[in-house]
């Protein structure tokens, strides 16, 4: 993908983000943070490629670290968000 196309995506997604997030009520700001944290674990995509590329010891170590950290982010983030939101849903 060329740079201008990437930049276009980046800028448009920021505008979309602003539109979306301003509609989230303050009551849900903490779950929003943990949820968006989990979503930022999308780096796991890059981490998986690095860890599975089999291109030397240093990259294996970096890849493993990246997979561990991103997975903590994804699993921990979604689970704790779910736990909080379930409390809001009661009754």
């Amino acid at each position: 993908m060329d740079f201008v196309a990437q930049l276009t995506l980046f800028v448009l997604a920021i505008f979309l983000g602003v539109e979306l997030i301003t509609k989230v009520p303050p009551t849900l700001h903490t779950p929003l943070m943990s949820g968006s944290n989990a979503i930022s674990g999308i780096t796991v995509v890059g981490a998986l490629i690095a860890a599975g590329s089999d291109s030397g010891m240093l990259i294996n170590v970096l890849g493993f670290t990246a997979v561990v950290l991103a997975t903590i982010n994804v699993i921990g983030g979604f689970m704790v968000t779910n736990r909080m939101l379930a409390m809001f849903k009661r009754k």
Partner: protein, 460 residues
Amino acid sequence: MHVSQNWIDIAYLIAAVLFVVGIKGLTKPKTAVRGNLLAAAGMGVAAVVTLLNEHIVTYEIIIAGVVVGGLIGAVMAKKVQMTSMPQMIALLNGFGGGASFAVASAEFFRGSANDTVSIIATGAAVLIGAVTLTGSLVAFAKLQELIDGKPMGFPGMKVVNAILFIGSLVGIGYLVMNPGNETVFWGLVAAAMLLGLLLVLPIGGADMPVVIALLNSYSGVAASAAGFVMGNSALIITGSLVGASGLILTSIMCKAMNRSLTNVLFGVMAEAGEAMDEDEVYAGKVKSTSADEVAMLLETAQRVVIVPGFGLAMAQAQHAVRDMADTMEAMGIEVEYAIHPVAGRMPGHMNVLLAEAEVPYEQLKDMDQINPTFEQTDVAIVLGANDVTNPMAREDKGSPIYGMPILNVDKAKTVVVVKRSLSSGFAGLPNPLFAKDNTLMLFGDGKGAVLDITTALKEG
């Protein structure tokens, strides 16, 4: 190969759509759980199709990493107490930044970044990712009280930070000219990690909500930069969504604290104007009351607003408060909660703490909703909140907190402030609310006072 890459990219698009729909679900408590699950499903789609990537030739390290990370994440999510949620988010921010940092480093050593754009993107991902990692660890240590929450620094710290930042940029520039220079790369890593430490150390504990929101934003931007390195649209889109989210929350927190972002970042506290004398404010004007008197007052009330602060959560009094509110509701009294944006230690924290105690979210009102209703409120009960109720923010132009948005509890017919003493809050200021004609002080432990009021209500 072209066809399969297209399919993989389409799967990433589906994942991005699921994230957007998922965040949209978070705009209402009723749809929020489903929104979170949709976002998680999006992550599942993205992860699974990535495994089909042609560059992945071995799975041992992946499986080991997923198992270790998954276990740690699950245990953290299950064990964390709701009062400790800011620490958990700080750690997750740090890990997100760290992951992007590690991914960009791996790409660097694989030599896949060789054109100007991807080298700059790699440098940005390393810089922002490493700053997020070490900065978040400092924020975590401050919140967890592993280190002193007070601002820490040394003379010339800002100069050092400026040198580290400019040095990092120069390093990235050098890498563009001389791709693959490992010494410069490690120099960049060291400078970025040190910068993260030095940026958060001088920020005081009271400003941590702003810092967490800002680091949240950084972790998104770092992911986005990693996306530029890899040419991956899912990372770019998702990272910028998170970056925007963190920025909005940062600005909400700054407004609520009446601080500019630069003041928070550079550890500038508001200048204490003419110091107000506590004796002058309080002398002879403070009326103290008892739980029985408060109960009598409540019995004749039609509408009561409870104003919780973090002191309430520290005393683990949320359930006791809920019981008191239930008792009042059973007597036909309308009860609502007034939540200031900085009532907890991060955006929306107090709401989560009360939701945990099974307070219905319909009763949780934010500042703009509740402020016009105080004039029709018979009793406002302030529990563990102080600065956010200080009328000086509205009335005294010379006050350091002038202009800070507050809850107008003093407009209620009667205000009951439950507090151990007349001591000041984070801002270090006396609160004239305590000396108002319509204010009654109920001195004592928050939880004990709430239990006493509830008992008196039930007996009365």
